[in-house]
């Protein structure tokens, strides 16, 4: 095997396992903070790890109405797509010079895979609750993809219309996108979309556990449920990273404050997820779609127009 292929496989494994561990830790922080907000003690630090290990040791039950292949393949595909995204994103963070043209497109597609697989697995399970959940998941996907892509257009435009994640990061070395009017607007839109992509509380209607009994996952048990949990935790670790790369210029490896500044930004985005989750009730699907299409899409469009005006008139703060 050539050295380069070996290196690629090593990167993939390290990024996958590292993101997994980071995701477990973040999930614990999320649950602990939620417990503290509610004046409870909360779970011990190894709780998410124990959950995943336990599910690995249980039996997988197959509902008699399910289509076996789709039902069992969906969580595995979702998990692998997330792991590949992890490899691309961490590599971009550490060596931004070595991206490939269009890796942003690849990342956007790969991040869509877990949601699509949720729909596939839920429909394959043949459960009425799961099919309601699947319908909501599709509508959620249709709602948040448009504003998210529009928000991503702002850093793409400001870095000279490139689709190379590495070039977007290096273009922000001097002034990050978020230090401009259009950047702030785009980040706000992207944070709300991130919450929806994670399926966290205001937008957890696809798995609302008290009305449709964890909806899309209702028929999953044992290792396949563990795959879903791991994919969700890895997304929780990856989406803040993607937002930092797109809007806040990644890791400044040259300066001494590079690493602490990156950690600060990362903690800020993760804290935002927990904060929004703890302070909001769940929205109905019609309210969600109205919010995304009639509030966030216009906001993101305004951000794009502002940034293009700024570029053509040479006003850096716009």
């Amino acid at each position: 095997m050539s050295g380069q292929a070996m290196w690629a496989i090593l990167t993939f494994l390290a990024a996958g396992i590292g993101t997994m561990l980071l995701g477990l830790a973040l999930r614990w922080v999320d649950r602990k903070v939620t417990a503290l907000v509610q004046w409870r003690v909360g779970p011990p630090w190894y709780q998410p790890l124990a959950d995943v290990l336990k599910l690995m040791g249980k039996e997988t039950l197959m509902p008699s109405t399910a289509r076996g292949t789709g039902f069992l393949l969906a969580p595995i595909i979702a998990l692998s797509a997330t792991a590949v995204t992890a490899a691309i994103l961490w590599r971009t963070l550490l060596v931004p010079q070595e991206g490939f043209l269009g890796d942003l497109i690849v990342v956007i597609y790969l991040l869509m895979v877990p949601a699509l697989m949720t729909v596939l697995g839920a429909s394959a399970s043949g459960n009425p609750h799961a099919s309601i959940g699947a319908g909501r998941e599709v509508k959620l996907l249709l709602s948040y993809e448009a504003p998210l892509l529009l928000a991503f257009l702002v850093p793409i435009a400001r870095s000279g219309w490139t689709l190379d994640l590495g070039r977007i990061v290096t273009a922000q070395a001097a002034s990050p996108v978020v230090f401009s009017v259009s950047g702030v607007l785009a980040v706000v839109v992207a944070v709300v979309c991130m919450q929806a992509k994670l399926g966290q509380v205001p937008f957890d209607l696809a798995e609302a556990e008290c009305e449709i009994m964890s909806g899309v996952y209702v028929e999953y048990s044992g290792p396949s449920l563990a795959c879903w949990l791991m994919a969700r935790m890895m997304l929780l670790a990856l989406l803040p990273l993607l937002l930092i790369l797109m809007f806040w210029g990644g890791l400044h490896t040259g300066a001494w404050w590079g690493v602490p500044a990156f950690l600060g930004k990362y903690v800020l985005f993760v804290a935002l997820v927990t904060l929004i989750r703890n302070t909001n009730p769940r929205l109905r699907i019609d309210q969600t779609m109205r919010l995304f299409w009639f509030v966030l899409v216009p906001a993101a469009a305004v951000a794009v127009v502002l940034s293009m005006t700024g570029i053509s008139r040479g006003i850096p703060w716009l």
């Binding site: 909360g42 124990a50 290990l53 040791g57 008290c210 964890s214």
Partner: protein, 146 residues
Amino acid sequence: MALTTWALRKSLWVYHVNTGACNNCDIEVLELLTPRYDIERFGMVLVGSPRHADVLAVTGVCTRQAMPRLQEVYLQTPKPCVVLAIGSCSLEQGIFTEAYHMGPKVDETIRAVDPGAIILYVPGCPPKPEAMIDAAVKAMEFLKTL
């Protein structure tokens, strides 16, 4: 397998089955989630689907209507799983024992489909949340021997 047994003990997910309770036991089960008792300290959470559960918290007398459903829910739970029979009703059918609509008792109903089921009894009408936490701790001790 020691690792998965450890994980199972540290992360018991509870599915709550009401087989005809007067609702008082159910209120006491919900007490476990409140800040005062906070069962999540032990890694226990209430889940919405028996397929995710490790513990079935059964309350109520098990009426004739509820009996086949209880058996179905038990079969839908991935093994290993523990059954907590909560309240005097689910132990001995309490004051309803001679009523016309009674099925078999909760433990007999479950043993009819799985003779080796792990069943723990929590007496009381309704049992205190402390008693239920004690039952959960005993279940964890028992799972060590699996």
